[in-house]
Amino acid sequence: MPFLIDCPNCGRRSPYEFKFGGECKRAPDPGADVKAWCDYLYLYENMSGVQDEWWYHTMGCRSWLKIRRNTVTHEIIEE
């Protein structure tokens, strides 16, 4: 993975220190039907381009962080 992730606690680190936490998605309203929750839990955009993602710094500060990454170029646009 040719990129580094800038952790606000630990600084610039290899992505191998992190666990990918999936796309950032908006949770359905509490009263939403089962299909909406099922889609939220199991379906992903898996898009080719810029997306917001969760990453967990498993081997560092054990914190979750949100980054905006281009999944084609691995460029991190915003952290």
Binding site: N9, R13, R62
Partner: protein, 206 residues
């Protein structure tokens, strides 16, 4: 309490360990024949008290930002993230007396290795991928990072002489110990007992 079964297995070339008991902990005092001077010493300090401190206890340590560490000549405290700190006691009594419930005793859960000596920086940089001696930062430093895929906590003491302590979960302790030996092979690393480490840290006992 650590037992011989859970202690780190020492390499045969380290010499014959002269063991002793420190408040119930089996520790290696020195090796026979004596280790002598070495460019890098590797010492098992797993019997030393270790703790994770959270909340109010962490705030009392006075660590302002992650990565910052304090070495007062007896204990090390490093800031993991706001409100979380790692504390290692290197010279005080072995019985830990937590100030309050914000402490989690990790003495049994983590191994602790001391890497010290003139070439210790070379060995540590062979273990982790972060810059452990950044020129722009002063004082003792703390790093939470990985070594061969194992989460480790690393302190750069930045005392008068180069020295580091590195800890990880006890289940990975033997692997970390052997990784240190491999990284230090070219630098003349020697496995030493507690006496050599104490002499380095506090000066030779009178």
């Amino acid at each position: 309490m650590m037992t011989h079964a859970r202690a780190i297995a020492l390499p045969g070339w380290a010499g014959k360990p002269v063991e002793t008991q420190l408040e119930g902990w089996p520790v290696v005092e020195r090796f026979e024949p004596p280790e002598g001077d070495c460019a890098v010493g590797l010492t098992d300090l797993s019997h030393r008290p270790k703790a994770i401190v959270q909340g109010a206890g962490a705030q009392r340590l006075g660590l302002a930002r992650p990565g910052q560490a304090v070495w007062n000549g007896q204990s090390l405290a490093g800031c993991l993230k706001p409100g979380h700190a790692v504390v290692l006691d290197l010279t005080g009594p072995l019985e830990m007396k937590p100030a309050d419930s914000s402490w989690t005793d990790m003495t049994d859960g983590w191994v602790l290795l001391g890497l010290w000596g003139p070439l210790s920086l070379d060995v540590v940089q062979g273990l982790v991928t972060v810059d452990v001696e950044p020129r722009e930062r002063g004082g003792a430093l703390f790093f939470a990072t990985s070594c061969h895929g194992v989460p480790v906590q690393l302190f750069n003491l930045r005392a008068q002489k180069p020295g580091f302590v590195i800890s990880c979960a006890r289940s990975h302790g033997q692997n970390l110990f052997e990784a240190c030996i491999r990284a230090g092979r070219q630098s003349g690393l020697k496995v030493t007992g507690l006496k050599a480490y104490s002499d380095w840290l506090c000066g030779p006992a009178a």
